[in-house]
Amino acid sequence: MYLASMIRKELVAASAEPLILSLLSKGESYGYAIIQEVKARSGGKLQWTDGMLYPVLHRMERRGLLKSRWGESETGRKRKYYSIKKDGKTAMVKHHEQWSLIHSVLAGLKKEQYV
């Protein structure tokens, strides 16, 4: 079922920033690759409207979390590469703390249901 397997759009929107920061903390990347990696890692359950990624990236760049540069792929295709900045790393740590807290609360509540 679509609704059972796909992640709700509100949660997709809320998770966009931590996911982008976490992906870019591994190294610089570009919009298309970011989307493909998120799709692959979530088994296709985390689906972004492709174009919506770019306003998010631009907003994060404006806030000083990311920086960008124009480059070329090995095939000569033009690409805009994004990389994480120091403030981005700090924001990522905060996101991880908050998402871990939510996860532990949920896990605790779930555990209690089976006791």
Partner: protein, 205 residues
């Protein structure tokens, strides 16, 4: 016969028509579209369907425009505040300069050259900020407020010339200074006023 390049050009036109005018977002979106088309075609889908699937996946133009506009609005609000603050600094800077210059002219003693230099630097820096801000401000909203602030600041710079007419013992040097100040003010604030009127008609870069 399906023509991929023509379809991409039409898609680009749709995006432009919906209001995504800034070259960077549009270029990024087009690069993304081309990458997705290439991937779909590698999976064995024909050109026409690959384009159609990719265009749907990238999203509706109106939706994307709204998201990009949110960023632009915040940036332009900051710029509006910067312009108004810089105009205020120009007025404030001059208000610190004039009494000292007046005293220097009357007594021949300059009490605080550092303070005078700081005031002059503030006026120059604020002037550059106003000019730069107006050249890069992209919103139509707020233009009237900027125009009013420019007129107010311009009047403040012309005031010494008007007041000089009421000085019984006006010195030639004073006259030269206030005429220079009024002339420079008309030139600078006039250019700013003109720039503020003209800029909204230009497309966003």
């Amino acid at each position: 016969m399906f023509n991929l390049e023509q379809s991409i050009a039409e898609w680009r036109q749709q995006m432009l028509a919906s209001g995504i005018k800034s070259p960077v977002p549009l270029e990024e979106l087009e690069i993304h579209l081309r990458e997705e088309i290439a991937r779909q075609m590698e999976l064995g889908i024909n050109e026409r369907h690959a384009f159609e699937i990719s265009a749907v996946q990238i999203g509706e133009a109106a939706l994307l425009k709204n998201e990009f506009k949110k960023i632009e609005t915040v940036r332009n609000m900051k710029k509006l505040i910067m312009i108004l603050l810089a105009l205020f600094c120009m007025v404030f800077g001059l208000s610190t300069l004039l009494p000292q210059l007046g005293q220097w002219s009357r007594t021949g003693v300059l009490r605080s050259p550092t303070f005078l230099a700081m005031g002059a630097i503030m006026v120059i820096m604020a002037g550059i900020t106003v000019f730069y801000g107006l050249r890069t401000y992209r919103e139509t909203r707020g233009r009237r407020l900027i125009s009013l602030a420019i007129i107010a600041a311009g009047i403040f710079y012309v005031m010494p010339l008007i007041l000089e007419f009421f000085q019984p013992d006006a010195h030639l040097n004073n006259w030269m200074f206030v005429i220079f100040l009024a002339g420079a003010s008309v030139l600078f604030f006039g250019s700013c006023f003109n720039l503020n009127k003209r800029m909204p008609a230009q497309p966003a870069r």
